[in-house]
Symmetry: C2
Subunit: 550 residues, 2 copies
């Protein structure tokens, strides 16, 4: 090639903008042009629900960088309202159209980066294009929702899709005074969680008066007589709404790439190697439009999140400039705040492992306080840790709680990334003062419980096997706790009386012990197994029971 590098970047949000800025830092001489179909680059799409909720009041604060700033500080040319319509890979040029003037033109390149993002899924059902039905992808979308709220004063909203964006929208619509119903085809909210971990999230939503309509799909949208909308479902429900927000996920924008003959993966994203190169020489792709490798399951996945997109943009820039930087794949770390509750996860859920055909794992549950219980403000965290058997490699973790969930998942995410085991969590040396954690941090506790299982000190029973088990169920909580609610058929032997009452237990049956959260039952299980009984612990205790049997 020789001479000046000329890089065209299609899409100027997270991945595209990061790539452009990194390119400039690596090559002061390169000509860099960013094409953006919309009016903005580098906007804060993760902030859109909060703009709707007026937590973020000024639209300007969503605009993280302007074309003018890119030009002045980075000497990068940004063409907003310009759409790239065709790639001539052999000729190394693209065709673009100025959406304002309608003028079409071609632009040659030495390297091309595709960062087109993903578009909201809009199922082709009757009424989907009715006024009052919204998607949430960009600033104009959220401006339209705000406009609808301020001019129409809607009372009832239906949000379709109970994943991150849907629940964030539910919260923010509730914040604006609307009563909100969330509909999802799945029987749970937050599909990143396993169902029993999603249960506290559902309860939390309900205490904030969000109606959940789960396990049922949208089939049509009709106008009602009163000028509102009605959402119809497969099960025959008719949900009235003054507005409907769709958050059914996003579909990689691959038409441009497909038309150019670039390989598309099985999941519908652009296929890239670990330098973010597509199948076509001279063309890279990054962000929500690409498929990446999940480092836990080893499988390709779509992960439309800003963090990985930014890092992919850097990798592509490095690769274009001849550097051998690799994108290591993703663990799928994510977080969502819902009415003051934090839901965070990293790695694979049990569901995801089963879907990937991975069966050699175990799960433990814990419900520790986020900081010392004697310090005011202690709140319970709900955590699940999934690990490989017998190696103990951390496969995934989920945490739900008012405070500290993101911190624990971040620590475990770093551990997952480094291929760590539950024994590393057991030994983690983390910040401890009473307002920040516990001397045995929840991360340590998760590791210790898992390590107990792997060392053979603790046999686990599975909640899924509870119904119809022949085992003797023993609840070792105190009588007043037992009286307040217990598992059908469980007998109550408080831990303090356990050694004296061992003789009342049969030796020819398995004994499944539990307590409130698992700590006392662990002692009971140790006593039993050392006394020659076959004991298993129902992990996470009565608190987890509620997740499985709500």
């Amino acid at each position: 090639m020789g001479g000046q590098r000329k890089v065209l970047i299609v899409g100027g949000v997270a991945g595209g903008a990061s790539c452009a800025a990194r390119l400039r830092r690596l090559d002061e001489q390169a000509r860099i042009i960013v094409f953006e179909r919309g009016p903005h680059i580098s906007y804060a799409n993760c902030g859109l629900p909060y703009f709707v909720g007026e937590v973020i009041t000024e639209e300007e604060s969503l605009l993280l960088a302007s074309p003018e700033l890119f030009s002045r500080q980075f000497n990068i040319e940004v063409r907003v309202h310009h759409e790239v319509t065709r790639i001539d890979a052999a000729g190394r040029e693209i065709a673009a159209r100025d959406l304002h003037s309608g003028r079409s033109y071609s632009e040659p390149y030495t390297s091309l980066v595709l960062a087109p993002g993903a578009s909201p899924v809009r199922p082709e059902i009757p009424g989907i294009d009715s006024p009052g039905v919204f998607s949430v992808r960009n600033v104009p979308d959220s401006r339209a929702i705000r406009g609808w709220i301020s001019t129409r004063s809607p009372k009832r909203a239906v949000v379709v899709g109970a994943s991150y964006l849907g629940l964030e929208m539910a919260e923010n619509l509730a914040r604006r005074g609307l009563s909100v119903t969330v509909v999802d085809l799945l029987a749970q909210v937050m599909p990143v969680l396993d169902p029993e971990m999603a249960e506290p999230v559902s309860r939390h939503l309900e205490t904030h008066r969000v109606d959940l309509h789960l396990g049922d799909g949208m089939t049509a949208i009709e106008r009602s007589g009163s000028g509102g909308l009605v959402l119809l479902t497969s099960a025959g429900a008719r949900l009235p709404a003054d507005m409907i927000v769709l958050s059914l996920g996003a579909k990689p924008e691959v038409q441009l790439a497909r038309d150019a003959g670039i390989d598309i993966g099985r999941l519908g994203g652009i296929r890239v190697d670990d330098s973010m190169r597509t199948s076509t020489p001279g063309i890279w792709a990054v962000g929500d439009a690409v498929e990446v490798r999940n480092i836990v399951t080893g499988r390709p996945c779509l992960l439309p999140l800003a963090g990985p997109a930014n890092r992919q943009g850097r990798v592509a820039a490095d690769s274009i400039c001849g550097r051998d930087t690799r994108f290591p794949g993703v663990a799928g770390t994510s977080v969502c705040g819902i009415f003051g509750l934090t839901v965070a996860a990293t790695g694979a859920s049990e569901k995801a492992l089963i879907a990937a055909g991975i069966r050699q794992y175990q799960s433990v549950f814990l419900h520790p306080m986020q900081h010392a219980s004697y310090y005011p403000g202690a709140r319970r965290l709900h955590m699940k840790l999934v690990f490989s058997v017998p190696e103990g490699r951390i496969l995934g973790a989920q945490a739900v709680g008012e405070e500290g969930a993101d911190k624990r998942i971040d620590v475990i995410a770093m551990a997952v990334q480094r291929g760590a085991t539950v024994f590393d969590l057991e030994e983690a040396e983390l910040c401890y003062a009473p307002q920040y954690g516990t001397a045995k941090d929840p991360v340590n506790m998760a590791g210790m419980i898992a390590a107990n299982v792997l060392r053979g000190d603790l046999l686990l029973a599975r909640w899924q096997d509870l119904e119809g088990t022949a085992a003797v169920l023993v609840d070792v909580r105190d009588p007043h706790e037992f009286a307040a609610g217990h598992i059908d058929g469980a007998m109550n032997i408080p831990l303090g009386e356990f050694r004296q009452r061992l003789t009342s237990l049969p030796r020819h049956k398995e004994i499944w012990v539990h307590c409130a959260i698992g700590q006392r039952a662990y002692y009971a299980a140790r006593i039993l197994s050392q006394e020659g009984f076959t004991a298993r612990l129902l992990p996470g205790g009565y608190e987890t029971y509620w997740g499985y049997f709500p």
Copy 2:
């Protein structure tokens, strides 16, 4: 040996209590006796300052477990107010005294665990035993301080020692309405930090009207005419006080061990191997009394913290029961809250590296927001990352900020523990939503800056070399920022004009660039080096300048 295991544990707080409980889980048949000289076991010594400050109101909430609970649930015998006075290692028995009855007796053992803790340092200066001079080790100590406050209504307190406990006491005494002066022999607060990182902590203390009297030592305590106290210093200051709190660190309690011929380390702690065995067969030691290996410097250290003590207790129990569990050493992770500011650190500071003779390192600074700046409540974090050159192994990190400092240090602590490099931080996949972090998390940013240095994309200047440098100093902030305050002798070339004004810069001198926090200067440095200049970046920008030149 054969037969029933009989384990005696000297000391029943963090390490001792953990060891006892773990022993019971491993060996249902063992006889386990805990000797505690004081009135309580398992008390929350990290909560003591907050009990003084009445954040924690009830004394009972500091008592995490009672002898009765240990007996009932764990079948562990606890003897409070019993002091172990002598060890007969050859005969495998100890001598103990019941402090209430005065009765002395001996007790044989098969294994002995020493968990005596550490006692507050009290220098032998005139007046040290005056009424109104307090140490803070246990519940009775803090009860005495509360009593003094409620009966004497003191107005002025002097706290001697500006480490964790001293600053926590300063905050809690201020909370009780006292005006507080903190005295320390060092010229900085929080010795776990490097001095420039301690500077924002000092400023924060001063905004909360804590007087700092640094770089000066206490020489005597006198009574004043009015019935109060006066603290005299080496520099001749006379600091009046109605009460004085000593927080000069803790000294391992090793007399019992020393008398028994057990090896004591160079730092004055009991020497143990990685199974927590002392030099004497049949005797283990854990907690604040022992020396442990720092995994970063490889050197022995004293680290009187509850987390490591608990884990050491578990390791000793495992070892006693014949399991090959090892204590991996410590990174020194710690945290402290001071008037709403969090100070957290892991690994080694620059000071500690120099003291350990380690010179092949570099440091970077950053001052990112703890979460997306467009989301309400964004607050600045101050971070320092120290890493080995050229490998990039993470040697240490320090963080100071109102929110999110503990989270970032916990993630980096896990990285340090796993022997990770700054390249792993660069690639860390952490929880991101606008209220939790940034798409490029502060941990990523720290890794990216360090990686830029290691890849040769960025040369750093050292702030220590600023005075008397022959380099040209260029400040690339905007003129209004420059006008509000700048480094003496710096010229101002805003980044937006940088490319046009390159010709005004000399090619025969080094050019040291900086901005507010480092981001814009990084672009300027990249432009300069690609244009053939020799450019260095002053890391952390004007914000870090203030740390070095307060």
